[in-house]
Symmetry: C2
């Protein structure tokens, strides 16, 4: 097996502002062989996630930064090519942190076997993967939606936002999505069943929120931060819950983070703002997966993937994510 | 009674930046007579509170703004001089929203009778009044302190902060106060029993927090906002609770509110930030009052008042509050 050639993106510098190709080196190395308890995975699809930008920064966070010289961290799905663990067989389809490369060696216990007949493979990186679980636990555990409440979701056409809004609909809420451009807005209303969508690129978000949320906003699931978070804060209903899932508008900023200027709305409305990362709920993943799969099979949870071909496109594909140019869960197809 | 002369501060313009004397007119008018269900109160002490600055602004909040031309809103304590309600007798001591004036006509049901033998009168506007209740409900209901946790309190020598820290000590927490100047810092440690104090005027708050809170901050009770809030956010422990009680550093700012730049610490640490105003807990005031009075009698809850003589000093005394120059609960003595 040692003759297998493995292309890898390694992080070589901490990006300043927008991530760029020169922050990585693209090298080819032997794939290596799994030790006892490990498997060699042929990566098929890689997940592109906003959180990746944070992993590239130095400094304390919920997870260690990617080391300089290390393969860039990424979730992926692939097929077991070599196994040195009894729990996984050659040919099994597995999900896990494969890194941005053709082949990954991973501990069998760090991988999750999935049934590839259940859905197209990229979906296991989206609605049936970490983004879906992120939506599930953030909305239900922190938001605790009540039937009839008004829920606003930013990045509504994105991997997390699309699932969040659909779960809120399943729970009987009125759901307003915020997305960039008329196509995404049409998608979240017509395909995903949101009650309304606001096009932040072409509408005054503040005014549109006032129009769509006459009784205020009970739950806000925030993926973007910045001015949209401030607009929502100014419209909170009493006892509102603001779920901090991400702040993609700020991750590549050259200036310091923009804090929510309207946070005193929390005081006025006895509201709360709570953050989380999906890893906090690792012990409950099976519950979340079961719910997401059930809704998918029942036709209540739809999803869309934006598939870019070729491992070699990684830096530019990641830029596409941060520019909001993807439409649906963004993945790279590495191999068939 | 109509010959009683009543001096009043009426709000005549919405302040821009720091509040100033010219935002009010100081007039004398007949005190008037109470109608059925009302009493006339001779005001003895007035409460000066950070929230007053917000009440002067136009726009929606948890309470209507003071109207232009209206007597400035203020809490006060005084003696019933005339009563037209069977529930209150002449000579009773009452607390309520008297306004910044010598005499107030109020509905008997909007006033609370207190026992003046229990404590010096100004204390009913501080540790045994709204500030004490604010500390009680904010810390216990939102913060839910657990023995051994690390609690940080800003404006620690102020009316709310001093009570908050002492309740946290009663609950078995380690308590770090942040206050301005060595005298206040000495007071919170030596007199109030905090474990440590940080002098934000003479110390690097960030570094001092790192020194005093090696395991991070479990609860932060924030009265000040601004840079101190950001410093604390960067030091949160997992599952921390940030209680937003006020943001006095921002109330008189000419620029737009400074939002907490480090709010993504909520995400990293699965922490929450929740706001409240004491009025949210009106139904539970008796519970709070009983606890505060009990601790006071037991010698576990100490307090200090900063008494300024003379109703006519109101605008400058309010400035003193916003400059942090008061030491203890700031009140104006209006009459014996």
């Amino acid at each position: 097996m040692s003759t297998l050639q493995n292309r890898q993106f390694r992080l070589t510098s901490r990006p300043v502002g927008m991530v760029k190709r020169s922050d990585f080196e693209f090298v080819t190395a032997p794939a290596g062989e799994p030790s006892q308890g490990e498997v060699l995975v042929r990566v098929q699809y890689l997940s592109l996630d906003p959180a990746m930008r944070g992993w590239m920064n130095a400094g304390r966070s919920y997870i260690a930064p990617v080391g300089l010289g290390d393969v860039m961290r990424a979730g992926g799905i692939g097929r077991v090519a070599v196994s040195d663990d009894p729990s996984l067989a050659v040919g099994d389809t597995v999900v896990g942190m494969t890194g941005v490369q053709d082949y990954a060696i991973a501990k069998a216990r760090d991988l999750t076997r999935v049934d590839p007949r259940l859905a197209p493979l990229p979906r296991f990186l989206g609605a049936l993967g970490m983004p879906g679980l992120t939506a599930y636990f953030g909305l239900l555990d922190i938001g605790q939606p009540i039937e009839g409440e008004t829920v606003v979701v930013s990045a509504a056409a994105g991997a997390v936002g699309a699932v969040t809004g659909q779960i809120a609909k399943i729970k009987g809420c009125r759901v307003i999505g915020i997305a960039g451009g008329p196509d995404k807005c049409r998608y979240v209303v017509e395909d995903l069943g949101f009650d309304a969508a606001i096009d932040y690129k072409n509408e005054d978000v503040q005014r549109a929120l006032a129009r769509h949320c006459p009784k205020g906003i009970d739950i806000y699931f925030d993926n973007v931060g910045g001015d949209i978070l401030d607009a929502v804060l100014s419209m909170l209903a009493r006892r509102a819950r603001v779920i901090i899932c991400g702040a993609i508008s700020q991750y590549n900023s050259m200036e310091s983070m923009q804090g929510p200027r309207n946070y005193m709305s929390l005081l006025v409305n006895h509201a709360l703002m709570e953050g989380f990362v999906v890893f906090d709920y690792a012990a409950r993943y099976p519950e979340g997966m079961q719910a997401l799969a059930g809704w998918t099979i029942a036709g209540k949870l739809k999803a869309r993937e934006d598939i870019v071909e070729g491992l070699e496109t990684f830096p530019e594909t990641l830029q596409k994510l941060f520019r909001g140019e993807n439409f649906g869960k963004l993945v790279i197809k590495v191999s068939e």
